[in-house]
Symmetry: C2
Subunit: 318 residues, 2 copies
């Protein structure tokens, strides 16, 4: 009986691995380093080796496994082919063929942010829902869209690339993607720090944020100051919330979700962040979506392995 599956989340620094039962229980998780040298040529082999070692250690055979779910940081098409991953130094790769060849197991792959959205739908902040938007507010802004329980992969594997909607056509600085004025430039950790530096430069108003070197200001500093009642920090949070809340309301007109989940390092600011974003969202959303809850992600760094496991379970059992 195929009672087990692996959920694997490939990041630029570490590969997170989880051994799951198909009922959804996580039996064990571990990490290996991501070796990105030489075009990341060792990464797939390393993943295959650690999974095979785990099977041997647990005395499990191929027949015990439904397969492997894999989340990777790049655009992945419906067939599991990734068309380049900058952080892994990868070009185009057929993941089911390569990792399947090494392990002898079925492999299903998805974009890491999309897979994390599936994880949050399954066991996290969106548990019980089938239509969900996840926005991951980290160094950049990633996202994943789930419609009727399925990842929206899109025609080029770019479904859910919501960090790159253009929210400000007046922006002069260039986003990592090459455009100017992407949501990521205001709603990521680096974006919030940039908004703070701009707000500091725009006035001489007092603020605790002036007590440290400008370049050292982080999104956490901004939210800490906001929670302590700092007016200038509150203006920064308002701008962040305006861009993000408005964009989420627009995304909601497209997919009409049951729930919106915010994850990533920035979301650790917690309830005050949620309240600020929800306020703008309510103002801007279409009437039938105004009460859509905006909640915090719950799985943290494990969203990827959970979602990858869920992908394997859904695909392997269909």
């Amino acid at each position: 009986m195929a009672d087990y599956c692996f959920g694997v989340d490939v990041g630029g620094t570490t590969v997170k691995c989880g051994l799951f039962r198909v009922d959804g229980s996580l039996l064990e998780k571990w990490e290996i380093p991501t070796r990105t040298a030489d075009g990341g040529k060792d990464i797939i082999g390393d993943i295959g080796a650690t999974l095979l070692a785990k099977m041997e250690e647990r005395q499990l055979s191929r027949e015990d496994f439904l397969g492997i779910g894999l989340g990777v940081p790049g655009p992945v098409d419906q067939k599991g082919i990734i068309n380049g991953a900058v952080n892994l130094h990868w070009g185009k790769k057929d993941l089911p063929a390569e990792l399947g060849g090494i392990t002898g197991l079925s492999v299903w792959a998805g974009n890491d942010a999309n897979v994390a959205a599936l994880g949050e739908m399954w066991k996290g902040g969106g548990a019980g829902s089938r239509n969900l938007i996840l926005a991951t507010l980290g160094t950049g802004v990633g996202g994943g869209i789930i419609v009727e329980g399925q990842i929206v992969t899109g025609s080029r594997g770019a479904g859910g690339e919501i960090g790159h909607c253009r929210v400000n056509r007046q922006e002069k600085e260039v986003c990592n993607c090459g455009n100017q004025g992407c949501l990521e430039q205001y709603a990521s950790a680096t974006g919030i720090a940039r908004l703070a530096r701009r707000e500091l430069a725009a006035s001489t108003d007092g603020s605790v944020l002036r007590e440290q070197p400008e370049d050292s200001i982080t999104a956490k500093d901004v939210f800490d100051a906001f929670k302590a009642g700092d007016d200038l920090a509150a203006r920064v949070v308002d701008k962040f919330a305006l861009y993000l809340g408005n964009a989420l309301a627009t995304f909601a007109t497209v997919v009409d979700p049951e729930v919106i989940v915010l994850g990533g390092g920035v979301s650790k600011a917690g309830a005050p962040l949620i309240q600020a974003v929800q306020k703008v969202f309510r103002e801007d959303a279409f009437h039938s979506s105004k009460d859509v809850p905006i909640v915090l992600a719950q799985l943290g760094n494990d969203a990827g392995i959970y979602g990858a496991a869920k992908l394997a379970i859904d695909k392997g059992q269909s």
Copy 2:
């Protein structure tokens, strides 16, 4: 053998009906008036009667039919329950139960704009695609989203309500939906006329649009003047294209479509309209989507009956 189906598109003035073969050929189409008096209580009965009459006329039995697909102007959930339709004077209605009860046929219903998107994907401007955004630029702005061949219904039947994304938080006039600054206020026929009146009021620049009473200016007048080289009309078209092109680029970050289809009366302006919108879309879209074609809808008023038939075929054969 169930070789036939009906595709029915319920509008506020007429009900359009099509008799299809399940291979996709339209055998006959006709219309009946929509009787909206007394809460639209006669509409479903009228539809049932005309379909039963057609079956008798053609000497076809229930066994010859896969069923009925129905597009209706309101939010329809996954079960085919409509939660109010202003134009039909309807409250909540279980369409499969009511129309199915009269006809003895299986009934699948969807929102009219969503169903039209399915039609354009099947036999219209998006033929051959499986991931599509349709924006219908009429009196209002409607829309339909198709992901992997399926309508995005959404959790409350409001999937694809893209006319009501809030694109201008500075707008003072109120949209029909109650919000201020919806895309519909700039990209619909009435919205383009409003933009023209504002542009005329903002300057004394010469324009052929000044040669008629302001209240009589239509979107067609604006595009006709634009095509004839009128500078003021060109500024109106630029504003329209800026709002619509930017919004489409944002929608594309969510669903990563293969093609974007523009329909509705405004789209009759043709190639110059497409070019204006495509230019902004290219500037604003995420890099992998910049080359997504924006094309004209091809089915005109028949998109609804085609899409409704396709809905019946997909659901009836699955």
